[in-house]
Amino acid sequence: MAALGTQTKVTKVVAKMAGCSWFLVLGSVFLCNLFKTLLPSIFSFLSKVLQKDAEHERHMRAEIQEMKKEHNSVSMMDEFARYARLERKINKMTDKLKTHVKSRTAQQAKMKWVVNIIFYILQAALMISLIWKYYADPVTVIPNKWISPLEWLVAFPSGVAGGVGITCWLVVCNKVVSIGLYSIS
C-alpha cells in the first residue's frame, strides 16, 4: 500500500512536470534574455582577463606624462637641444602608444564579435531544440472556446484544439521577458 502510494505520488509529480512545459520554455527564454543583457559585462570581464597588456600601456602613459612635465619645465630658448630631444622622445612614445591602443581595440572588437556570434548560435540552438521537442505537443491546454476565433493560430504547429503551440508561447514569452528586463534595468 505504501509502495502504491509512493508510486502514485511519483506519477503525479511526473505528470506535473510534463504539464510544466510552459514553465520550461519561459525559463529558457528568460535565461537567454538575461544573458543577452549581461553580455557587455561578460565581455568586459573577458577582455580584462585575456588582455594582459594593460599594465604596459599604463606604464607608457605614465612615462609620457612625466616627459611632458619635464618638457614644459625646459626653456626652449636656453636649452633648445634638450627641448627638441624631449619632444622627439614624446612623439615617439605617443606613436608607440597609439599603435598599441589600436591593436588592443582591434582585438577587443574581434573578441566582442566572437562572443556575440557564440551567444547567438547557442540561443538559436536552444530555440530550435525547444521547437523540435514541442512541435507536436502543446505547452499547455485550455478550453477551446476561450481562445476563439484564434484557436488555430494559437495552437500552431501542434494542431491540438485549445492548445497553446510552442511558437506562440515563445513569441509571447520573448516579448514579456524583454519588457520585464528592460523595466528592471
Binding site: T140, W146, V171, K175
Partner: protein, 299 residues
C-alpha cells in the same frame, strides 16, 4: 539758370538712359546665364532636346529630402528656387527692374508675355519665350533652369546622402553607448501594461467561462485609444536608421515615413499589450490549476 522744362527734360532723358543701361545689363546677364546653362548641359551630358522636353512637360516640383524627420509641413509646399531674373519676367513692381511694368513704359509690350500667345520681339537680343515656358515661368519660376536644376538636384541628393550617412554613424554610436533597442516606458505605456495584466486576471477569474478572452482585450484597446489624450505626450525622438535613410534617398517624403513609423509604433504597442495579456492569462490559469490540484490532494 535752368528752367523747370529743362530740368524735367533732363530727368526724363536720364531715366530713359538708366532704363536702357539697365536693359543692356539685363541682356548681358541673360546671355551669360544662357552660356552657363549650355556649359552645365555639356558637363552633365543633357542634350538640348531632352532638356527642353523636360522643361516643358514635367511640372512636378523636385522632391527635397528632409534630414529633420520632425518637419511637419508637406514636402510639396517646399519653397521653389528662384533665379534672379525670373521674378522680373513675372512682372514684379520692383523699381529697378529692367522688365517694364504694365502701365506707360517703353517696354510695356512685354506684359503680353504672360497673357498667352507668342512673345513679341520687343527689343533686339531678348530671347523669345514660347508660351508653355512662359506659363511655367509664371507658375513655377524655378522651372526655367532645369538643366542646372538637374545638377543641383544631383548635388543636393549627394549632400543629403553624406549627411544621412553621418547621422547613421552618430545614431549607431549612441545606440552602442545606450545599448537599448526597446522603446522608453512612459506613463501611458506603463498604464497600458498594468491594465492588461489586471484585465487578464479578472477575465480568468470571472469572464472566460462566458466568452472569448479576446473580446475584453479589444474593448480595453478601444478604451486606451480614448484615454490616450489624457496622458502627457512624450516627444519620441526619431531615429535615423538604415531603412529610413534608404527610404528618404529613394524619394519618399519624410512625412509619409513619419506617419508609417508612427503607425508601426502603435501596432507594436498593441502587440505588446496582447502578449502581456495572454501571458498573464495563461500564468494565472496555471497557478489556479496548481492551487486547485493541491487543494484536492490535501482533501
Amino acid at each position: 539758370m535752368e528752367s523747370p522744362d529743362d530740368t524735367t527734360q533732363k530727368t526724363s532723358e536720364e531715366k530713359s538712359g538708366l532704363s536702357s543701361a539697365q536693359r543692356r545689363a539685363e541682356i548681358r546677364r541673360r546671355k551669360l546665364l544662357m552660356n552657363s546653362e549650355d556649359r552645365m548641359k555639356r558637363i552633365v551630358g543633357f542634350t538640348k532636346s531632352e532638356s527642353e522636353n523636360n522643361g516643358a512637360s514635367s511640372r512636378v516640383t523636385e522632391p527635397r529630402f528632409h534630414l529633420d524627420l520632425d518637419r511637419i509641413e508637406p514636402w510639396s509646399a517646399s519653397s521653389p528656387r528662384l533665379s534672379p531674373f525670373l521674378p522680373e519676367a513675372v512682372g514684379s513692381s520692383h523699381p529697378h527692374s529692367s522688365v517694364p511694368e504694365r502701365t506707360g513704359s517703353p517696354l510695356g509690350d512685354c506684359s503680353k508675355v504672360l497673357g498667352g500667345g507668342v512673345v513679341e520681339d520687343v527689343t533686339p537680343g531678348v530671347r523669345q519665350r514660347p508660351r508653355g515656358e512662359a506659363q511655367l515661368a509664371a507658375e513655377d519660376p524655378s522651372h526655367s533652369a532645369s538643366p542646372r536644376g538637374g545638377l543641383q538636384k544631383y548635388l543636393s541628393r549627394f549632400d543629403d546622402a553624406m549627411k544621412l550617412r553621418g547621422q547613421l554613424a552618430n545614431e549607431k554610436q549612441a545606440q552602442d553607448a545606450a545599448s537599448s533597442d526597446t522603446e522608453e516606458l512612459d506613463s501611458f505605456r506603463l498604464f497600458r501594461l498594468v491594465g492588461s495584466v489586471l484585465l487578464a486576471i479578472f477575465v480568468r477569474v470571472f469572464v472566460c467561462k462566458y466568452l472569448s478572452i479576446f473580446a475584453p482585450f479589444l474593448t480595453l484597446e478601444l478604451a486606451y485609444m480614448g484615454l490616450y489624450k489624457y496622458f502627457p505626450k512624450v516627444e519620441k525622438k526619431t531615429h535615423t536608421t538604415v531603412l529610413t535613410a534608404a527610404l528618404l534617398l529613394s524619394g519618399i517624403p519624410a512625412e509619409v515615413i513619419n506617419r508609417s513609423m508612427d503607425t508601426y509604433r502603435k501596432m507594436g504597442d498593441v502587440f505588446a499589450d496582447l502578449c502581456v495579456y495572454f501571458f498573464t492569462f495563461i500564468l494565472s490559469h496555471e497557478v489556479l490549476l496548481l492551487v486547485g490540484s493541491e487543494e484536492t490532494e490535501s482533501l
